[in-house]
Symmetry: C2
């Protein structure tokens, strides 16, 4: 959690899982993304508040694409992703939401919707 109370560590996990799912090394990913291996290691282990360009570079190298989804649609989108994953029968399928949520785990009910949120509208 940083200043804004936002988790950042799980993105490292997501990236790590995506990388391992593709069975490539950190150095390979480094080569492909242009981001130094040392930094990737840091990203995957420690929590690093990535810059957008870095995130995009990594995502791109991992065949992922960050999309801003309207809150109301996230369940549907995640469901879509989840479904496709179960079809593809991926070894370990992890939820790749940037906000790092639950844990899809194949046999999951419907939508474990997002974390709570302090309404601070003014």
């Amino acid at each position: 959690m940083n200043k804004l109370g936002i988790e950042v560590e799980h993105i490292g996990s997501a990236i790590k899982e995506a990388r391992e799912a593709k069975k490539i090394s950190q150095r390979a990913l480094a080569r492909k993304s242009g981001i130094p291996q040392s930094h990737i290691s840091k990203i995957e282990t420690k929590g690093v508040d990535l810059k957008l360009t870095s995130l995009l570079a990594l995502a791109r190298a991992l065949d992922l694409e960050p999309v801003l989804v309207p809150r109301k649609l996230t369940p549907a989108v995640k469901s879509l992703i989840r479904t496709s994953k179960s079809v593809t029968v991926t070894p370990q399928s992890a939820e790749l939401s940037l906000t790092g949520h639950p844990a899809t785990v194949a046999a999951r009910p419907a939508y474990t919707l997002d974390e709570e949120e302090g309404d601070d509208d003014g």
Copy 2:
């Protein structure tokens, strides 16, 4: 374009559009997201390589959620978003993809913001 050849400006546009769609001022968004108005202005106009936490803070404040979508699914996901938008009949519906791609074109001039990426490694 930054060091990695990645566009970053359009996120500012996306945020701006999302904000205007919600009809709130930069200051209101600033209050809600915790990010100073001066910075939001900069983000929306100049291109700022946002950090993840900032992006999340803004997205959250705008009822958006960044999700890492497998490349093969992005069209489906965007389609989903697009559809829902046309249903909701939003004034100006903008593509909210972080990579700013295709061009939803529901009832719009169809400006293609595409910026294909170069495939390097194999």
